[in-house]
Each structure stands twice: as C-alpha cells, then as structure tokens.
C-alpha cells in the first residue's frame, strides 16, 4: 500500500467513526441498546476476530514469547511505544495538560537519544513517567459522547469516538513515511509483540468470562473511562449500577 492508499483507508475509518458517533446521537452509558446498538454486527466481527486470534495470532504470539528473551521483548515494546509517542504529546496539549506535555516531550527526547532510538526507557527511572493519551480521550475531555461500541475487524474493541485516534496515531508515526517493503515486517513485529503483551490478560478473561463478548466490551469501556480520568475516576462513575439495584427499579 502506498502512503496515499493508506491515508485514504485511515480517512475512511475516521469518517465511519464520526458518522456512527453522530448517527447514534452520541449515546453514552446506560442499557445495552444505547451502549451497543450494533451488537449483532459487533458479535459477528468479534467471532471473526476471536477465531483469527485462536488459530493465528495467539499461537504466533505464544511462540514469539517462548523464543524471545524478556529483555528483548521489553525493548521491542519500548521501541514502538516511543515511535507512537508524538501522538501522546499532541493529545497532552489538546487536553491542555501543558506540564505533562512538556514532560512527555522530554521523555521522547531522552528515550530517543540516551535510550538508543527508544529501545531502552531511561526516562521512567528519571521520573518522566509514561502517559497514555489519544484523540478518543481528548474528545471525551471536550465533552463528546463515546458513541456506539464497535468491534473493528482485525483491530478489536473500540468506540466511534476512539476510532478517530487512528488518524493522528498513523500520521504522527515515522512508520507511515517509510516506503520500503521492510515496513510490513516491522508492522507485523509490533502486532505480534502487542498480542504477546496481552496474553496474560486474555488468559484471565478466558478463565473468568461467562460471555466473552460482553466481558470484553465491559472491560474495554471501563478501562477507557479509567484512562479518560487518568486512573482516578470520581466516585460517581461507579454509582450508575446502583440505580437499578434499588427496589424501585427492580421491576421491569
């Protein structure tokens, strides 16, 4: 795929996200039809993704984990984190977190130079901690609703609001501007390494879930909420389920 083709693909994905977001009247939380209005389609894609994972991604990731020493895997994770870090900095500023933005800029600088192109992470022990910011979170802080929950083929759980992040994440990564065929190998390594990092989490899910689809959706949406509040959601965010738990609401 050329840069132009990739650009068109990303734009289409974002257009779809924006369309779904406004089409749904920016529904946020509440009962399932509101939160997950396209559940039948989502379940379809979820099953496709799960099968792809079961027969391809998971075994490959397990093999990779087995043959690659932990320090090497850490360096691969560090490298890609660093590569996509400009997107974090952009969203720091978009969310008016200026101090964090400058610290994240320093983090990128330290890890790219002293950390040898991002392979190592000397910034963290130096007190420049890693942050997770993206355009979905930025839109949330601007007051935009999350829109419907979406399962994207190959990519997995998302929401209409979160799909928008594909654009800056892609365009701000140096990977996008490399024309060499080697890019596919590098991209594949990123995907396999990310899947390997999630092996423990999916193991716990498979152990605990009665209904994988719902479990994944809830865990994903809650993790996103947690990230929007930078790991410190106000108490009210955990109170919505009490409403239905009281006597008055128990009768349908």
């Amino acid at each position: 795929m050329s840069n132009q083709q990739r650009g068109v693909f990303v734009f289409k994905a974002i257009a779809l996200g924006v369309l779904l977001m406004f089409g749904s009247g920016c529904a946020t939380t509440g009962s399932d039809p509101e939160k997950d209005p396209v559940e039948p389609m989502n379940r379809g894609f979820f099953n496709v993704n799960e099968n792809l994972d079961k027969y391809l991604m998971k075994p490959v990731a397990q093999g990779y984990q087995k043959i690659t020493p932990k320090p090497v895997r850490s360096s691969v994770t560090n490298f890609f984190d660093n590569l996509f870090y400009p997107n974090v900095i952009l969203n720091d500023f978009l969310q008016a977190k200026f101090k964090q933005g400058f610290r994240d800029f320093a983090r990128l600088f330290v890890n790219t130079t002293i950390g040898i192109g991002g392979l190592f992470d000397p910034a963290t022990p130096a007190g420049l901690l890693r942050h997770q910011e993206d355009l979905g979170q930025t839109f949330a802080t601007w007051g935009m609703g999350q829109g419907p929950y979406l399962v994207i083929p190959l990519l997995g759980p998302s929401t209409a609001r979160d799909v928008t992040d594909l654009a800056p994440r892609t365009f701000l990564s140096p990977l996008f501007y490399i024309e060499s065929a080697a890019i596919y190998g590098v991209g594949a390594l990123n995907v396999i390494n990310e899947r390997a990092n999630l092996l423990e989490a999916t193991e716990i899910r498979d152990e605990a879930a009665l209904d994988s689809y719902t479990f994944t959706r809830e865990a994903f949406l809650q993790r996103r909420k947690d990230l929007i509040y930078d790991g410190n959601p106000p108490a009210e965010e955990f109170e919505d389920f009490f409403e239905e738990g009281t006597d008055a609401d128990l009768v349908e």
Binding site: Y213, E218, Q222, F238
Partner: protein, 204 residues
C-alpha cells in the same frame, strides 16, 4: 425508687453492656485490611496449601467481608425479582462460592507483593470508598478500590474496582446478557462450571 448503694454494681453492669454494644463493629478499614492480610498469607503459602487449602483459608474471611445478598441483587438487576426465594438463595450461595474460588485460583503465588491504603472517601448514601494499591516488588502499583456499606453491625464490601474495572458492572452486564439470551438455569450451570474449572484447571 430510691437509689441504694447496692444498685451501683447494676449500673456498672448496664454501663458495661452498653459500652460493649457501642464499641464499633469492624470498621471498613479493618474489613479490607483483614481481606488483604488473608490474601497475602494465601499467596505466601500458596504451594503448601494447594487450591483447596487456599479455598478453606479464604472462605470464612470472604464470607464475612462481602455483602453477597446485596451484590446478587445488583448483579442480577431487574432479573432478581423474577426469581423465587429458592432460586435467589441458590444464586447467592453459588456466587459466594465462586468468589472464594476466584481468589483461591488467582492468588496462587507470591513475589513480594503488599497492599496499602491510599484514601477513604464518602460515597453515595452511607457508603464509603477505600482506595488501596497492590504494590509489586518492582514498585509498580495496581489500584484496588473497595466500595463498602454498613450492614447491621458491620461494614461489608459490595464492589471491587481492580485497575479501573468494576467487578460489579462487569458481572451485571455479563450475567444480564446470559439471563437474557439463555436463562437462569444456564447461568447457574455456567457458574458451577467456572467453580469446577478453578478447582481443576485441567478441565478447561
């Protein structure tokens, strides 16, 4: 009635009884600390105890720390009222067992972890939220939030939010989905299956 000196011991006795009734039952902090202490003990002796040893050690503490009736009502939401008393009791019992089984299965090794309390905040109604952290040996922390509410003479946990994911919301969505799509007998069967899998991981 005239008060005589021989009434005095009676006063003392009553006063003593009253004082005893007024001594605070387990505070929210104590409930969570006791649970954490048991989890650490279980992790430290994980191999020696084995799954069933861990289960036995955890069971009385878990039973006494969570408000399983309230949790069951919230988790089943609008479906709770549709169940008769026997079904409700059956659900609460299985859910209680599953909770202990999950802890016994998940906390199966120890590598220097510890818990610490970070903050205590008022919550809706009389409820309280305790913010705590699991501190790993390398200094990494995982936030564990507990929501407690007073129940007769003690405080009981009704929700745990681990690393941003609320157990109550997760189960409510999941159990609701199974109830809607498959019905109560299937939900019970699935919960029993989970308990068996925790007891015997090879069954998975």
């Amino acid at each position: 009635m005239k008060i005589h000196w021989f009434h005095f011991p009676l006063f003392l006795m009553c006063w003593g009884l009253q004082a005893e009734a007024a001594t605070q039952p387990l505070s929210p902090d104590t409930v969570v600390e006791r649970l954490h202490g048991t989890l650490i003990r279980v992790m430290e002796n994980a191999d020696k105890l084995g799954y069933s040893g861990r289960f036995q050690l955890l069971k009385p503490v878990v039973d006494d720390s969570f408000d399983f009736l309230e949790i069951s009502r919230i988790v089943l939401g609008r479906y709770w009222r549709r169940l008769d008393n026997n079904q409700q009791t059956e659900f609460v019992n299985i859910f209680r067992e599953l909770s202990t089984a999950t802890y016994a299965s998940r906390f199966d090794s120890y590598s220097g972890e510890s818990f610490r309390q970070v903050a205590k905040e008022p919550f809706k109604g009389e409820r309280l939220m305790l913010r705590t952290e699991l501190v790993k040996q390398n200094g990494e922390t995982v936030p564990f939030l507990y929501v407690l509410q007073p129940q007769q003479e003690k405080w009981l946990i009704i929700n745990v939010v681990a690393d941003g994911v609320s157990d109550l919301s997760l189960k409510k969505a999941e159990y609701g989905s199974v109830m809607k799509r498959e019905g109560f007998p299937h939900l019970l069967a699935k919960l029993r299956e989970k308990i068996e899998e925790y007891e015997n991981p090879n069954k998975r």
